[in-house]
Point group: C2
Chain length 218, copies 2
């Protein structure tokens, strides 16, 4: 019936991973939740299946999830970013990896320095993996609020591979997010840093801020 790629949400038991997973499951993608512990992945998969009234979301250990999927989405906590990538290097060969990591602390939000998290991922994984950066600023609570409603936030997609970027843009759109190609992996450090600004804005004004790009000819 479907030629949609299978998605693995690696480190997908937190806040951001399940929020994205639910939107993509609703859009008809086959979803695998990955975690370091298979049981934890299975428990979260079962919870999401129950919430959505489906039974197609699976839970696997991260490396099994990565091997089974066509596109992998990394949603680990920032402190686990590099160690997770090192452990998954082999399983990720030949895949597209979407890195959602923003290395910003909520309590003391500072813009991170180059290399971007996604550039680091590319360096760790090597040329056999195509890395894109996206979804760093999309609020989990906004994603969850009305799963079938488009959200008012633009996803900035950075990749050195335009074809991969276009896959990510299509994925974002299928989850109700407007997405734009915003240049190569080095530009992703700005998207990470935007998280620091948006946290500052939220602390000052309240709310769950995000950005939209205006003034383009689409």
């Amino acid at each position: 019936m479907t030629d949609k790629p299978t998605l693995a949400i690696l480190g997908g038991t937190g806040n951001q991973g399940p929020s994205l997973a639910m939107r993509w499951a609703r859009a008809g993608y086959k979803i695998i939740i990955g975690s370091r512990q298979a049981e934890k992945a299975q428990r979260v998969a079962a919870e999401l299946n129950e919430k959505l009234g489906i039974h197609t979301i699976e839970g696997l250990q991260n490396d099994d999830a990565a091997r089974t999927a066509d596109i992998c989405v990394l949603t680990v906590v920032q402190s686990a970013h590099q160690s997770a990538l090192k452990g998954l290097k082999e399983a990720l060969q030949g895949k597209v990896l979407i890195d959602t990591t923003a290395r910003v602390e909520f309590r003391d939000p500072k813009p991170p320095e180059q290399p971007s998290a996604a550039r680091l991922a590319q360096e760790i994984l090597g040329d056999g993996v195509t890395v894109a950066a996206a979804f760093q600023n999309v609020s989990a609570s906004v994603l969850r609020k009305n799963l079938d409603q488009p959200i008012k936030a633009d996803v900035l997609v950075c990749s050195d591979d335009l074809e991969a970027a276009e896959q990510v843009i299509a994925l974002a759109e299928s989850g109700g997010m407007h997405a734009l190609y915003a240049g190569g992996l080095d530009n992703a450090v700005v998207v990470e840093g935007l998280t620091a600004l948006l946290i500052s804005i939220n602390k000052h004004y309240g709310g769950h801020s995000s950005i939209q790009v205006v003034g383009i000819n689409e």
Copy 2:
């Protein structure tokens, strides 16, 4: 009649400076165009007066302009950023300086590294000057298009001094720009970097892109 502060647009003979100057002149601010050469400043001031059908815009050498003004707006080309600040250090003591510099090349747009241009400005000028960063991403051509129309772009204002940030926000609003406080001077490196992303977006999609912040409780 007016208690509006006098504004000096330092290095104000380029593209961005006059565009901002015209909007603020229309909003009733007293404007001084600054340049390294007084004659050049006077020529641009005369051109702007003619365009607007007024005669209140003055042209002075940068340091005279800075001394006369309450708020100074730095719109020099990025290669002159540090040398201009060093030369103006004395004249700027006691003032608010708004740094509009984005250290990004159009041909090869890369996000700049910390310290932000505005943090550098603060370090060069010392504690006697209150620095804010703003207007880095606002397109001169968009500003000029309909001088009396609000523009569809949010100005992100960064400063370690909230009172100065609020002055800049009021100034932006008076020129038809929506503005938000986005944290301290270190956050300004992200706003500079956004320029690189917006150039990438413009090259890919066409147009004059800018950003808007959505989802806040104002």
